[in-house]
């Protein structure tokens, strides 16, 4: 059965590693739906959060292939454990002065911030889980979306477990 899986992959923080991992997905015909990368608490390592859609068998194979890479230190399947997920969206919409008030209210409901304003556009920053981001987008769509930048989710397990 197709499902969404979130994998946290700790890798050596050096050039070529991300290309290698991306190559695994394309070479073996797996699809990445979201990807984000950043340094970890240890500057020698980076953390890659990958969201993939697939059935259990495919995802098991992906995990094993990732683990096989010498530059991969650890693969954690966050879909199997309590975890917290966040994504940031920056969304620029058409908003002439007459519409601004409405948009400010929406931003407030979504605990977002207005981070840029021009003659007829507004840019909002919102953090949240995917569903919240999707809801925001659909509410803002009628105003006319000019541009969207999303980070892809970052995820971490809950509590002390490592």
């Amino acid at each position: 059965m197709e499902k969404e899986y979130t994998l946290a992959v700790i890798v050596e923080n050096k050039s070529g590693v991300l290309a290698h991992i991306a190559g695994l997905f394309s070479g073996r015909g797996f699809n990445i739906s979201e990807l984000s990368v950043g340094e970890t608490e240890n500057p020698d390592y980076s953390r890659i959060t990958i969201v993939v859609k697939g059935d259990n068998k495919i995802v098991e194979q992906i995990k094993k292939q990732l683990n096989k890479f010498i530059d991969v230190i650890k693969v954690t399947d966050l879909s199997n454990q309590p975890s917290v997920h966040r994504e940031i969206i920056l969304i620029k919409i058409k908003a002439p002065p007459s519409k601004r008030q409405e948009v400010f209210q929406i931003a407030e409901v979504f605990k977002g911030k207005i981070i840029d304003i021009s003659q007829d556009t507004l840019t909002l920053e919102v953090t949240g889980i995917t569903e919240k981001i999707e809801a925001l987008i659909s509410i803002l769509r009628p105003y006319g979306i000019q541009e969207i930048a999303r980070t892809g989710r970052v995820s971490i397990s809950r509590g002390m477990s490592k």
Binding site: G16, K64, K68, F69, I70
Partner: protein
């Protein structure tokens, strides 16, 4: 001790006990070749093409169990080894390829002979490195050899920019390696091993299906002990041939597309399939859903990603085959499987691999004679195609590391350079390349290497005038439309031709003259009655010999499982194929 990077590489190679290296120099590796010049411990073999160098390194590794090494220049030197890396990668062969790179300061500038070697080779290597800091050079080399040899072995590329080889630094070769992301599991889980032994004791029709993993873990004697104690029948993959003696009664032959009927029937009937160091490749399994339909599956492999990749496994064990078989042997007992053993022996008697013993010069006869004359004691390399399958079927391999063949990638042009590597690793052995007339031309230039190194390699060329294996598929499945497979074809030939005969043009090249041009002995054999003599003479001389056997052009490899069919559905002729296509 302060050394230049180039000398440090040579010193590191000494520490790794490397005695033979294959390669070709070029601009950025001149300092490295300079450091190797006149080295007393390392025999630097210059091939004629980098593909020859990497296949030779691979043949060296397969025939000796030690890592093979090649050194090539940047850009075209590096891109020329890609096929060889992929060949070694698919068959899990430990090869370390050192590639030169343009100086660090100009990497990324499209410099002369620059190629993104690590980028290009990443999908076909177990791992690769680029050394950008001279202080990392020795630890990277240590890691490269460690990674190539351990776990599931494989090729590793070390890309070294020119300035790294010329800068000076303190030489220190690490004794130990620590790679946080690399820690292969070698010991099988005790509880899993117990489960396996319980399953084996319960089985009524157990079958061992073993592959190249037995050879890379040197587990042949453990496998033999297990089989002799329990009485379990054994089938082997192409890569596994020799892992269990081909002449022992428990051996059913190779399985899969060109396997024996006995092996494929046994797979179809078994109730427990014990896969060891094999990977359920599609050439082995045929139609996956119908593979061993009555069996419970055990899979023992060093690579966790191999387990469960193609089939669902009931009892997996991750670990080194040798360790695990040793443990299994402690609990092995004689199994009460007389009925199964009888059933299997009956198939063996009813369906031996056979060929027409008529007046035609048939390749199976040649290989059978070669087996008898060499007493099964030669190291055989093959090219790819029919020649390879006939070898697998008719030369009986009693020992591991005697069949050197490109299984996973099926690389034409592999056999001749691989024979060079095998001969260097085994100077006292008879090394024979069983070749096809198409494949051998892909690396024929290495005849010059053979000649210059005075290697006594023998080439048994099965010259059918065709890209035979493809022609066979065309005969069986494409209505005998021999598109692009005739090697004799010239401009004057009819557009459509499926009838080779006396009207055909002369073969180009003349392999006998070609052999002579390379200072080797060339002999053409057209009659069956000349086969024994020619083989005997060739084997007994210490010169390189090319035997150009003009074989029956439309000889086929049978039995054959059509691609995608269940493996018990074997065909032997065009008529069978037609019936199969209709069904």
């Amino acid at each position: 001790m302060k050394l230049t990077g180039a000398l440090a590489i040579v010193e590191a190679l000494h520490k790794e006990k490397i005695t033979t290296i294959f390669g070709i120099p070029g601009g950025v590796v001149i300092p490295l070749f300079d450091a190797l010049y006149g080295d007393k411990k390392i025999n630097m073999v210059i091939t004629k093409h980098e593909q020859g160098a990497i296949h030779a390194a691979d043949g060296f590794a397969r025939s000796s169990g030690k890592p093979g090494v090649c050194i090539v220049t940047s850009g075209p030197g590096a891109t020329n080894i890609v096929t060889g890396l992929a060949t070694a990668y698919m068959d899990s062969i430990p090869v370390v390829a050192i590639t030169g790179q343009v100086p660090t300061a100009i990497i990324g500038n499209d410099a002369f002979q620059e190629a993104d070697t690590t980028g290009i080779t990443r999908p076909v290597t177990k791992h690769n490195f680029i050394v950008k800091d001279p202080n990392e050079l020795t630890s990277v080399l240590k890691k490269a050899f460690h990674i190539a040899k351990t776990g599931r072995p494989g090729p590793v590329v070390v890309d070294i920019p020119k300035d790294i080889t010329t800068s000076e630094f303190e030489f220190d070769y690490p004794e130990k390696v620590s790679i946080p992301g690399y820690n292969p599991t070698v010991h099988g889980h005790t509880r899993q091993i117990k489960k396996v032994m319980d399953a084996i004791k319960e089985a009524k029709r157990p079958l061992i299906y073993a592959g190249g993993g037995i050879i890379s873990s040197d587990a042949s004697s453990e496998l033999k002990q297990f089989v002799k104690t329990t009485g379990t029948p054994v089938t082997l993959t192409l890569m596994g041939l020799g892992a269990y003696p081909g002449t022992e009664p428990e051996f059913l032959g190779m399985l899969g597309m060109h396997g024996t009927k006995t092996a494929n029937y046994a797979v179809d009937r078994c109730d427990l399939l014990i896969a060891i160091g094999a990977r359920f490749d599609d050439r082995v399994t045929g139609k996956l859903e119908m593979f061993a339909p009555h069996a419970k599956f055990i899979h023992i492999d060093i690579d966790p990603a191999s387990i469960g990749k193609n089939v669902v496994i009931d009892i997996p064990i991750v670990g080194d085959a040798k360790n695990i078989l040793k443990e299994m042997n402690k609990h092995a007992v004689k199994l009460d499987i007389k009925n199964w053993q009888n059933e299997v022996s009956k198939w063996k008697k009813e369906h031996p691999l056979a060929f027409m013993d008529d007046e035609l010069l048939r390749p199976q006869y040649i290989i059978d004679q070669l087996y008898k004359i060499t007493k099964g004691d030669a190291i055989i390399t093959t090219e790819v195609g029919q020649n390879q399958m006939w070898t697998a079927q008719f030369y009986k391999f009693d020992k591991p590391r005697r069949l050197i063949t490109s299984g996973g990638l099926g690389t034409m042009g592999y056999g001749l350079p691989a024979a060079i590597g095998a001969q260097f690793a085994n100077p006292d052995s008879t090394v024979i390349d069983i070749a096809g007339d198409g494949s051998i031309q892909m690396n024929i230039q290495e005849m010059a290497t053979i000649s210059q190194c005075m290697l006594p390699i023998k080439i048994v060329l099965l010259n059918n005038g065709y890209l035979g294996m493809v022609r066979q598929w065309q005969e069986f499945f494409f209505n005998k439309r021999y598109s692009a497979t005739c090697l004799k074809r010239t401009k004057g030939c009819p557009d459509i031709c499926s009838n080779p005969g006396p009207q055909c043009p002369q073969y180009v090249p003349d392999f006998v003259k070609l052999a002579e041009a390379y200072n080797a002995v060339g002999i053409r054999i057209t009659k069956k009655s000349d086969v024994q003599g020619a083989l005997r003479d060739a084997i007994s001389t210490d010169k390189a010999v090319l035997l150009d056997f003009i074989i029956n052009p439309e000889e086929n490899v049978t039995p054959m499982v059509p691609a995608g069919a269940p493996i018990n559905k074997m065909i032997s002729s065009k008529e069978d194929a037609e019936a199969f296509l209709l069904a």
